[in-house]
């Protein structure tokens, strides 16, 4: 009886852990798609006075941002709890590098092939390089530290 309870608890923790990872991936996907939808209309928008910006905003982007934040919080809590119950590896250190690399890639893509039609959007290229550095640096540091521990 106690043993089946333990198995159930581990199965539940594995499901929660998986849900947390999926929520984290969904949050990063949402943020990436929000960035894409923003750069597609020139990087700025306005609902009231469209003369102040490049064009009208897409609807419900604020709600999508709130959902992304909720998914990120769910990921943090679910992965922390699930990994500690199961003794599984904690992948939370990947969250920032994956987010920064994804946004950097989006900026670079829009920089070299701007959605508004210019030849090269230098601001997006600079932003893309900065985000690539911000994502790659902690990832490389962490991987080299892990390699030193394994040695």
């Amino acid at each position: 009886m106690v043993r089946s309870g333990g198995v159930l608890r581990r199965a539940f923790a594995a499901a929660v852990l998986g849900l947390g990872i999926a929520a984290g991936a969904a949050a990063i996907t949402l943020l990436s798609m929000l960035l894409r939808s923003s750069t597609a209309i020139g990087g700025s928008c306005a609902d009231g006075d469209a003369a102040l910006a490049d064009g009208p905003c897409r609807s419900h982007t604020g709600a999508a941002l709130l959902i992304a934040v909720a998914c990120a919080l769910l990921c943090l809590l679910a992965v922390s709890w699930g990994a500690s119950v199961l003794g599984a590896p904690r992948p939370l250190f990947l969250a920032w590098p994956v987010l920064a690399l994804t946004l950097g890639w989006n900026f670079l893509r829009d920089g070299f092939d701007p959605p508004m039609g210019e030849g090269l959007a230098l601001g997006y290229v600079v932003g893309g390089v900065v985000f690539l550095l911000l994502g790659a640096a902690p990832l490389l540091l962490r991987l080299s530290a892990a390699r030193d521990v394994d040695r």
């Binding site: 594995a14 999926a22 984290g24 990063i28 996907t29 798609m33 609807s59 999508a64 959902i67 590896p89």
Partner: protein, 38 residues
């Protein structure tokens, strides 16, 4: 004590699980975005 090869296999299994659920999460994120923003 758990042998290191078994521990390594267990870690690999976990990371595979993470990759699979992350891919599902990406599809979920795309569906959520399309549903909310349209």
């Amino acid at each position: 004590m758990t042998p290191s090869s078994e521990r390594s296999r267990s870690r690999t299994t976990w990371w595979l699980y993470y990759v699979v659920v992350a891919v599902l999460g990406i599809y979920g994120g795309v569906a959520l975005f399309d549903w909310v923003v349209g």
